[in-house]
């Protein structure tokens, strides 16, 4: 346990020494990370296969491709993301420099999950490194092969003091959470999310929690059912249902329920063949504990398709349940498995009410030909993210912030959002030490005149129009020229001049 304290302490010392401040250093580390992903591709895919029975092409497109894209984007944009951002000034600060600086937070902790064990560590790591932090990485012990691999290869490519890997289970994680970090990003379930946030609260550490929940999928009767069901089947059964944004359950009108089942069955046949167990493209449940848990959810349910299991290999066939009651066990917890309940609802209103009675999910899906219906569901519900007429896909667009709300999490990342999550936006105002004249207005002793001046200089007007910027610029130029040529006279008459302009009805500046 002292080892953990030392590791974090070394990372903090390395951060304080300033090694990871420069953009060159950060890009060099990101390049090294990119090399690692490319050079160790075979080992990475093998580890994921050992953990989740995931085939190469699948693992590549889930865990490597997106990551490489994120790396390329970040390296390309880093200098523009990290540049100080000038902000709009008001009349009082016209002559000053006002900008926002992006600064590292310090030492960041990233705790990964087991379902996409490589990318859920690496993608946040990219953002954390880019923002100039030191990062302690804690892969999930449940996906043990990937955890071991990360612990092996990361130190071979990255600075070992700044980006250490800590492995272990609950005791190690608990010890880690006692240390002080400057940000913690945790991916996992809500129960542990609360523990992470409580630990963070002791140090006033900001957190990003990527949690989960039951992501509902509403299928409107007016939609291309065959296409909808194909897309849903893809998103539901990928990674054997162990995806935080998988469509957890379906809401649809009872009259289309059997059609939905038939379509999904046909798609399953197309994807995995007649004997799913022998398809190289179908994964397995991560371990016996989750296998038993998911099996328990099937009790008392009407199995319309699937239901076959094999404990030895943690195999559960793609399963569909129909006429599921909202009170049943399978509707209480996030399924995280290849079981798809269909809950009949009579209308979109009922679906919306159903969704709103429950915790806010990580993702929400709606299939409909009616654009208005989709818009309606979006505006009358709340969720981390949303995809209409497909599933999962909002995850792959890095310009969209990826995160939860309520029980499904807080904060977001991906693309530039990762950089911002791991940065401190520091406001900066640099004034001139001279030009004390205007400051006199604010100093005591106070008089009514000073109050009037304060209102003039500072109070924003409620305006519905905009002043022509050109006019303002012109006035500015005129003022500057006049000042340059007559400043001694003007200094004496300044108050009078400004008063005169005010009397003339100085237009609203804002």
């Amino acid at each position: 346990m002292e080892r953990i304290q030392q590791v974090v302490g070394r990372a903090r010392a390395a951060f304080k020494a300033g090694r990871c401040r420069s953009l060159e250093f950060r890009i060099q580390q990101l390049k090294a990370l990119e090399r690692m992903v490319k050079e160790k591709e075979r080992e990475i895919l093998a580890a994921i296969k050992a953990d989740l029975h995931k085939c190469g092409p699948n693992a590549y497109s889930h865990e490597i491709m997106g990551l490489l894209g994120e790396l390329a984007l970040t390296m390309e944009k880093l200098s523009s993301w990290a540049a100080p951002q000038p902000v709009k000034r008001n009349l009082m600060t016209m002559r000053d420099e006002a900008f926002i600086r992006y600064e590292p937070l310090g030492v960041v902790l990233i705790i990964g999950a087991w379902n996409y064990p490589f990318t859920l560590i690496m993608q946040p790591l990219v953002g954390a490194i880019a923002a100039g932090n030191a990062v302690v990485v804690k892969p999930s012990e449940i996906s043990e092969n990937t955890a071991k691999l990360i612990a092996d290869i990361l130190p071979q490519y990255l600075d070992q003091e700044l980006y250490p890997v800590v492995t272990g289970g609950v005791p190690e994680t608990t010890e880690l959470l006692k240390q002080r970090f400057d940000h913690i990003l945790y991916t996992g379930n809500s129960a542990v999310g609360k523990i992470v946030m409580a630990a963070a609260a002791k140090h006033l550490t900001p957190v990003t929690l990527e949690l989960g929940g039951k992501s509902p999928c509403y299928i409107d009767s007016d939609c291309d059912l065959a296409v909808a069901c194909r897309r849903i089947t893809w998103g539901k059964y990928m990674n054997c249902g162990q995806t935080c944004i998988a469509p957890d359950y379906i809401l649809c009108h009872p009259s289309i329920q059997s059609q939905v089942v038939e379509n999904i069955k046909a798609t399953l046949q197309e994807f995995y063949g007649a004997d799913v167990k022998s398809s190289p493209d179908y994964e397995r449940i991560i371990n016996k504990h989750h296998f038993k848990r998911i099996l328990g959810l099937l009790e008392g349910q009407k199995i319309a398709h699937g239901g076959e299991t094999d404990e030895a290999s943690c195999f559960i066939a793609p399963t569909i349940l129909t006429d599921v009651s909202p009170e049943s066990k399978v509707m209480e917890e996030e399924i995280f498995g290849p079981v798809l309940p269909i809950v009949p609802v009579k209308s979109v209103e009922e679906a919306i009410e159903f969704i709103n009675l429950r915790e806010k999910p990580l993702a929400l899906y709606v299939f409909s030909n009616k654009k208005e219906l989709i818009k309606r569901v979006i505006s009358e519900t709340s969720s981390g993210g949303f995809t209409g007429n497909d599933v999962i896909m909002h995850f792959f667009l890095s310009t969209l912030p990826f995160g939860g709300v309520g029980n499904s999490g807080m904060g977001a990342y991906h693309g530039k959002h990762s950089f911002e999550t791991f940065s401190h936006r520091r406001s900066c105002l640099i004034k001139d030490l001279k030009m004390e004249g205007t400051n006199n207005l604010r100093y005591p002793p106070i008089s009514q005149k000073k109050v009037d001046w304060a209102k003039f200089f500072i109070l924003k007007r409620f305006n519905k129009g905009q002043i022509g910027l050109a006019l303002l610029a012109l006035l500015g130029i005129v003022a500057a020229v006049v000042w340059k040529n007559h400043h001694s006279v003007l200094k004496r008459k300044a108050l009078l001049i400004v008063l005169a302009v005010q009397r003339l009805g100085w237009p609203n500046v804002w």
């Binding site: 304080k16 190469g56 497109s61 490489l68 390329a72 000034r89 008001n90 009082m92 600060t93 926002i100 310090g106 400057d182 809500s190 609260a201 006033l204 900001p206 929690l209 909808a228 194909r230 994807f271 995995y272 063949g273 398809s279 493209d281 299939f367 030909n369 981390g384 993210g385 949303f386 995809t387 209409g388 497909d390 909002h394 792959f396 890095s398 310009t399 969209l400 912030p401 990826f402 309520g406 807080m410 936006r425 406001s427 900066c428 105002l429 640099i430 004034k431 030490l433 004390e436 400051n439 100093y443 005591p444 002793p445 106070i446 304060a454 500072i458 109070l459 924003k460 007007r461 804002w510």
Partner: protein
Amino acid sequence: HPYAGLVSHLRTSWLSGRTRPMEYRVAQLEALGRFLDDKKEEILEATASDMGKPCFEAFFSEILLCKNELHQTLNNLGQWMKDEHVGKNLVTQLDSAFIRKDPYGVVLIIGPWNYPVHLLLVPLIGAIAAGNCVIVKPSEISKNTERLMAESLSCYLDNDCYAVVTGGVQETTKLLENKFDFIFFTGSPAVGRVVMSAAARHLTPVTLELGGKNPCYVSDSCHVQNAARRLAWGRFFNAGQTCIAPDYVLCSLEMQEKLMPALREAIAEFFGPNPRESPDFGRMVGDKQFRRVRALLSSGRVATPGGVQEMSPTVLADVLPSDPVMQEEIFGPILPIVVVANMDEAIDFINARPRPLAIYAFSSDSKVVNQVLERTSSGGFCGNDTLMHFTLTSLPFGGIGNSGLGKYHGKFTFDTFSHQRGCLHRNMGLEALNSPRYPPYSQQKMGLVTATFEIKRRGMCTIL
């Protein structure tokens, strides 16, 4: 469970969708504006009773700055509420991709006593603008303002969606047992921890505006009179009870000897020979605070007349890092000067301590100001002045580390109280384009998927 009824009532209003339409939010915000206009005298009186707040300070900080935020919000609300369309990749080219600004739901705003109207109303403006229902908890320490808010706000705002809860530590603890969708807290780091722990139980996101000791480095090359005036203004505003007040000065021995008379001059100019009698100098908010601050005066060389007797503006010279006045955020009209050899020593001094809400640096040499900026970390920074970065609404205002997390002011308040929801609205047709992603998987399919999904480094050409 007290307050459970209130929270559930607000939640029902929230679920009814009443606070969503822009017209509704504008109407509530305009009502808040009328509150500030109608109750101007009452606000000035209440803050004067609570902490002897000078009229001008109250007008400036509690009314004028709030109206600024209000007007900026009303001017821009339509724009801020709009879905923000985002760049798309190849595979989503034909889709609609945007970030929606969703309200969180029922939010809690806990205000402090030092700027009791401003620090409650400015977050409230953002929370209303973002479409939430709000419970507001003013500080019980600024009793008169608390009473004013509790009695008046309900006359202006929709009582089904916005409520004021009053009370002390016990009541606040009970309030925090409920589930909120967001909590905005301004106060001390110690209570900030309590609030965040309570929030963790419900996975409620928080913004914590806390405090610390804000250092102010004054370099040898600077216009001493101007620096002294700006420093004195920032330190003694609201009798020092400002979270971003310069808490202590770091400078060389030489500069200390120049600063002291300059500070004395500024204080005399501002408050006259007897500050206690100046209408422009505030008071400590209560006995407990007065005694706490008094106790900090037990060491250091007093450089100002009448400093120790009653809470007059006091400058302490030759202060040691171990002195009591350097152990906690002062939050009173005392300005200690700690002598350091040079800028490097000042920067090391600052970096050895928890990160503050603000850092100030005075120098005629812009390189010095930039060095202090670049080699330290703080919530915000102001060069060659104090407090002013707070008044620019285009700058995000917040802390880091012990001084807080999250930010607000201007659009940042609206964003703080909104959930940025990533939305992708896809085409139901063109299903053929999706086929590379479906099993059965093959190298060929993977090649296609890579081609459509991947982001390549610009300038890197790979021949497939």
